[in-house]
């Protein structure tokens, strides 16, 4: 498997560290002011964020860290059955826009 890093180009997967599901959003920290219902909802949101995973057999968006290269965090869209890679972008949206502007054809199939 090779990942096409926006800065470094195609590199073997052992230069990267897997960072897990990129589909999760960190909930707000509980503020201690919430009523009972709200507190329950907050607990459920944290349970979902920390522990529950969709674990799809197919397309997944996940974080990878190019630890053996530029050091950037990437979001990779990958098929977990065929290992086919559909898209790689920088996890930082602003930096990703900058790379896109430099090389608009990137990530087009």
């Amino acid at each position: 498997m090779r990942l096409d890093c926006p800065w470094c180009g195609p590199r073997p997967v052992d230069e990267f560290v897997h960072g897990g599901d990129a589909g999760k959003r960190r909930p707000m920290a509980p503020d201690g002011q919430a009523g009972a219902d709200e507190a329950r909802a907050q607990r459920r949101a944290w349970l979902d964020y920390v522990y529950r995973r969709n674990n799809p057999a197919g397309r997944i968006a996940e974080f990878w860290h190019h630890s053996g290269g530029c050091g950037c965090w990437l979001v990779v869209e990958r098929d977990t059955v065929s290992h086919e890679i559909a898209r790689v972008r920088l996890a930082d949206p602003e930096a990703d826009r900058a790379v896109q502007a430099r090389d608009p054809g990137r990530n087009e199939p």
Partner: protein, 417 residues
Amino acid sequence: MRYSLGALLRHAVAGHRHWPALLRRPEPRAAYDTVIIGGGGHGLATAYYLARNHAITDVAVLERGWLGGGNVGRNTTIIRSNYLLPENIRFYDHALRLWEGLSQELNYNLMVSQRGALVVFHTPAQRDAAVRRGNAMRLEGVDAVLLDRAGVLKLAPLIDGSPRARFPVLGGLFQPRGGSVRHDAVAWGFARAADRRGIDIIQNCEVTGFRIEKGRVRGVETVKGPIAARRAGIVVSGRSSQVTALAGLSLPIESHVLQCFVTEPVKPVLDTVVSFGAAHFSVVQSDRGGIVFNGDLDGYNSYAQRGNLHTVASVASAAVSFMPGLARLRLLRHWGGINDMTMDGSPIISRTPIEGLYFNGGWCYGGFKATPASGWTFAHLIATGEPHPLAAPFTLSRFETGCVIDESGTGPHPGRH
């Protein structure tokens, strides 16, 4: 028919032409009391113990592929109960005690070989951890022996004990009752024993949906048509997330691939199970002579029953730095299996929010050794509706309550347990 020396001689005289089939090949009936989804080691053991311990035989095991095609036939065959946390020690030692009498009970030769399991340590910190683990085991009445460097090298001379070894050997923690079991025979032994008690084992019968009414399970949809059932148990290892999703549930699980390797067969050189302390690497010599070993997970979610080359390279380098003699062997085969890795590295044997629907999974890459205890306690849960005391800590709700059982202390990172 019972297998025995007499039967072997009789069939030998007749040129082995009249051995009866191991199993019936029934078509599914329209309804059962209980269906077990997944005919791996754990599903078949569950069916067997439902009949043996609870006299429940109106049961079908529904298997998507063929018996032995999943992880039960893909693992490294190692059994042991050398865990640190009491919940795990008790559970896995119950399994080890069941293994000890299982070939006789099932009348099927599982080739249970208690050749001992050795975990080597290479640093003073690892030695402290091994002493602590050994003491935890002995507190639970489980056998554990601390070996010094000479003891380790005497037990497994293949290990590089030279002063120039990349990871110097300081000693090891040895469990004499650990060992290995012929993995695919476990599927066939449990299947045959369950079949003889009247349980239908139905292969090529994928479950594609659930019938749920008012929060209660009523049956399943399969590629062979609908089957009504009062109770259903999901035991599908690497496919856990997909099958529970059919019932609208999501799990604290990710699926990862683990690779296993076997070399060409050689004369006996290793008569115990050995784990390296400096990297993930466990090795056992099969009775046929092949050196069988595994390393780390490939490191990312995967449903491909094959792995990537960088893992092959890192496992090979661990093998050769630990046991340099292995460098002279050629690999015969390597393959992968999909493991359902949980967020705390421990399994789940649990009720679900749907009445009559039970879940058994999250065995990570250590579930083969658990097979009989997993079946024993899951059958108890399905039959009585109450968790077996040994499996009570392994509920799905522990992630909500915070009572996680994190043996390695690595936190909610399933690929790192």
